[in-house]
């Protein structure tokens, strides 16, 4: 469940940042390549947009030096995808005790408690209040439970319902083709991820309670997510419900041989931040993808993957920055000699696909390829 960090704990972590900025690049050795890692710093340039600068801002807020929500403050705090790349690098080097994403989310919640929130993020609360989804969509995505007693529930998530439905379609298609029974929530509400990530924690309470109750009622033993953001939120911000929470790629790996028809496709795999850095799931998506395509390795991957640019409320508030980050990733895909970019997250797919609009590059979620390669 959500825990507020102690002031001393936060300040101690901030004091231990030596401002070495090694968190701004991927590990240099042994290939001696300079590969930026922090989208926010790389795009905006001022120190405030790199992890060490943000920490200094947090210190100044806690110590009462910053008392007004300037544009610079809101930009520095919210134009960060909370991707955690900085933390992964920092902990290798300095053994730092507190993860930067935790610190930054805490900073956001501190700001939110003072009412210092971006309009774009505030409006999400209103949308969720009204429609129970983050996009304020009124229509219903069509998905039916196939067996009220199925052990497995598929939690679809707002983005796959309302923005990239091909992912939800593909996941449901896989269930059907494999003859697996499943449930979906009668009334699925937003998991609250965007609220937690943007510091608007209170507004998420109602959503959490509703979804827990829906899962309890369903009797499902396993909940499957195609959205790593939802999965992370259920794992990190929800109380333990005594059910198993798994990502689609974990579920598919477990199924073993699905008789997939491998395609002659050169695909680069993009690690979604929530799936990789937050949940440590790196191998399963690769295992599934290698069944359907030939994987081309990118330079920045796994713990040191470059973020797609859309997380942490960035897509809704700083779309140019989000698309720039995605475009940077596309360059790397081409450099790797791939003709398709495959991710395992609807958020990543949406942003990467938008950036690839004028590129000769396909963008997929891994479940789409699996569904395509499954004998019907």
């Amino acid at each position: 469940m959500y825990m507020k960090l102690k002031r001393e704990e936060i300040l101690s972590a901030i004091h231990h940042c030596v401002k070495c900025k090694l968190c701004s690049i991927a590990s240099f050795h042994p290939n001696a390549e300079w590969l930026p890692l922090c989208p926010s710093g790389q795009y905006y340039g001022y120190q405030a947009f790199y992890a060490p600068g943000k920490m200094e801002i947090f210190r100044a807020i806690l110590e009462g030096e910053i008392t007004e929500p300037s544009d610079g403050l809101l930009n520095a705090v919210y134009a960060c995808t909370v991707c955690g790349a900085c933390y992964e690098k920092c902990k290798q080097i300095t053994n730092v005790e507190l993860g930067a994403p935790d610190l930054f989310e805490e900073m956001r919640s501190e700001l939110a408690s003072k009412g210092w929130i971006l309009d774009a993020h505030k409006s999400i609360v209103d949308k969720i209040k009204e429609t129970k989804n983050a996009y304020g969509e009124k229509y219903e995505y069509k998905a039916e439970t196939t067996d009220q007693n199925a052990d497995v529930m598929y939690y679809i998530g707002c983005t796959a319902r309302y923005r990239v439905p091909e992912i939800a379609d593909a996941m449901l298609g896989i269930f059907d083709k494999l003859g697996l029974k499943y449930q979906v929530m009668g009334e699925e509400w937003c998991c609250g991820s965007v609220l937690f990530r943007t510091g608007q924690v209170k507004a998420a309470k109602e959503l959490v309670a509703h979804n827990i109750e829906e899962i309890r009622k369903s009797g499902a033993k396993t909940v499957i997510f195609t959205c790593p953001g939802c999965l992370k939120t259920f794992k990190k911000n929800y109380p333990d419900m005594g059910v198993e929470l798994v990502h689609s790629t974990q579920f598919l790996t477990r199924l073993g041989n699905m008789n997939l028809k491998k395609e002659n496709l050169k695909a680069a795999y993009h690690d979604p931040c929530h799936l990789g850095r937050d949940l440590g799931i790196y191998e399963e998506p690769r295992a599934v993808l290698s069944e359907v395509a030939n994987i081309k390795k990118m330079k920045r991957e796994k713990k040191q993957a470059w973020c797609c640019g859309s997380g942490g409320g960035v897509k809704s508030a700083f779309d140019d920055f989000a698309l720039w980050s995605a475009a940077e990733r596309l360059k790397e895909v081409k450099e790797a000699g791939a003709e398709a970019l495959v991710s395992a997250c609807p958020f990543c797919k949406r942003n990467l696909k938008e950036a690839a609009e004028n590129e000769e590059l396909e963008v997929y979620d891994v479940v789409e390829l699996v569904n395509r390669c499954l004998e019907g």
């Binding site: 590990s27 240099f28 042994p30 001022y46 200094e56 705090v77």
Partner: protein
């Protein structure tokens, strides 16, 4: 960015573009502190300006000079000594990191010409294509090459590279005049340091941003060799290994020689926190030999002979430790920051100085003595020696380190007491010079250098009569 932008911000934005100058409090705050805050307290610049060209640098300087506004040049801001933290209200922080072009790599001349924002990592990525490398400090490879050389960094990772890697540079003064040093002043060939008249490159450098702004610098590059061999030799005290180090330096045998205690920098040299460092002898000398085939073999043979004579213990360590030592020494330091991961000691205090190897044991002794006197526990006291080629006068870099928990305010107080005593004691023992003229060091030193201090101040006054350049940082 602020709704009520001040007039000066408007003028600065007119020079560098709206997105590259700000007086936003939060943005300015992000430049307010480095890890030396127990000695240099946090302070915000009033403006941050990010020029993209030298013409913009010049215009900003002239504007600041007109209004007598302090300017703090900042290349990457990783100096860890508070050198880019403002002293005065209303300062402009000139963040030069956008100027990050490698202007030339000249394999024939073995030189690179860089702008301030070029880091050691960026430079090596390019020079290695020519089997060349820059001389590396033991600083993270995210630091600016130009700023490091301009500060006259002492380059702990390769003894053979020697001490000064700067050939020539271009500096813009507050009045907008452009100074070029060495052959650069006479021609388009920036490859010779002693072009005309005195060694101006030497005179303008090592003044932490107090003369003008260096916009490009040409530096030496060094060969990358394929043949390499590493040794780690354990000793129980500081005095015994000095004869061994002397032999290596006298015969010019090793690319890298570092004496470290077993609890601090060794973690970065080995690249892991996860090793029983306390089981090693108290001091470890790390030696790296490199060279062309038969020369390498001959050197290696001699090194082994000296090791056998040294009464040290050759340590058998995992092969990856040697690889990391190689990377860190001749490929740019990344793991060196692991010293910040020492449990309960995530912050770094050191007095860095130059002195002769003959005084190694005395420096260590006084380090321990003073630290214990002010209440610093024994297990926080660390030490580092790095001999520097050419070894005239047995020139070495010494680092008297204390790693500590920076969030412990009481420890900060102890360190301030330590400094107050230690600067004087070291000056009494005798040193060649300080690593950098940073806060607190310059005052007791200036007292001892006689008329030179006066000349130094006058020299700075000629270059910067309005005292806008990093005002208050030196005198």
């Amino acid at each position: 960015m602020n709704e009520t932008v001040s007039k000066l911000v408007n003028e600065l934005q007119a020079i560098v573009g709206e997105g590259n100058a700000t007086d936003d409090l939060a943005i300015c705050t992000s430049y307010s502190r480095d890890q030396h805050w127990h000695f240099v307290p946090a302070k915000n610049p009033a403006y941050v300006v990010r020029p993209g060209t030298k013409e913009e640098v010049r215009s900003v300087l002239m504007l600041a000079n007109k209004h007598k506004i302090p300017v703090i040049p900042y290349s990457t801001g990783i100096n860890v000594r508070g050198l880019t933290i403002p002293v005065h209200d209303g300062s402009i922080l000139l963040d030069l990191s956008r100027m990050n072009r490698i202007l030339e790599i000249n394999p024939e001349m073995k030189t690179a010409t860089v702008e301030p924002g070029v880091t050691f990592g960026m430079l090596l990525e390019q020079t290695r294509k020519h089997k060349l490398r820059p001389a590396f400090p033991d600083a993270p490879l995210t630091v600016s090459v130009l700023a490091n050389y301009y500060l006259r960094g002492i380059y702990q990772t390769s003894a053979t590279d020697g001490h000064d890697h700067t050939i020539s540079y271009e500096m813009i003064l507050p009045n907008g005049e452009i100074l070029k040093t060495g052959s650069r002043a006479l021609s388009e060939m920036p490859y010779f340091r002693y072009g005309v008249g005195p060694d101006f490159a030497g005179m303008f450098c090592a003044h932490p941003g107090t003369c003008g702004v260096v916009t490009e610098l040409t530096a030496k590059l060094y060969r990358l060799y394929d043949n390499r061999k590493e040794y780690f030799i354990g000793f129980d005290d500081v005095g015994t290994p000095t004869a061994f180090i002397y032999n290596l330096m006298h015969d010019e045998l090793a690319a890298s020689i570092r004496l470290v205690d077993n609890q601090s920098w060794l973690e970065g040299i080995f690249g892991t926190f996860d090793y029983a460092y306390d089981k090693l002898p108290k001091f470890v000398v790390c030696v790296l030999v490199e060279g062309v085939d038969s020369i390498f073999k001959a050197k290696d043979k001699l090194v082994r002979k000296y090791i056998n004579e040294s009464s040290g213990q050759i340590l058998e360590l995992p092969a990856e430790f040697a690889r990391t030592f190689e990377d860190e020494s001749l490929g740019g330091a990344e793991k060196s920051c692991m010293v910040f991961g020492l449990p309960g000691k995530g912050n770094y205090h050191c007095i860095g100085l130059y002195g002769p190897l003959t005084l190694a044991a005395r420096y260590y002794e006084v380090h321990e003595k003073t630290a214990l006197e002010v209440g610093i526990p024994k297990d926080h006291i660390h030490f580092y020696i790095d001999p520097i080629y050419s070894f005239h006068g047995q020139l070495c870099y010494f680092e008297l380190d204390v790693f500590y928990d920076g969030s412990d305010a009481g420890f900060g107080e102890k360190l301030r007491n330590y400094n107050d005593k230690q600067f004087h004691r070291l000056l009494d023992i005798g040193i060649y010079g300080w690593f950098r003229p940073y806060a607190g060091i310059i005052e007791p030193t200036a007292e001892r250098i006689g008329y030179l201090a006066e000349v130094w101040k006058k020299f700075l006054h000629v270059l910067d009569p309005n005292e806008i350049m990093n005002r208050g940082k030196l005198f």
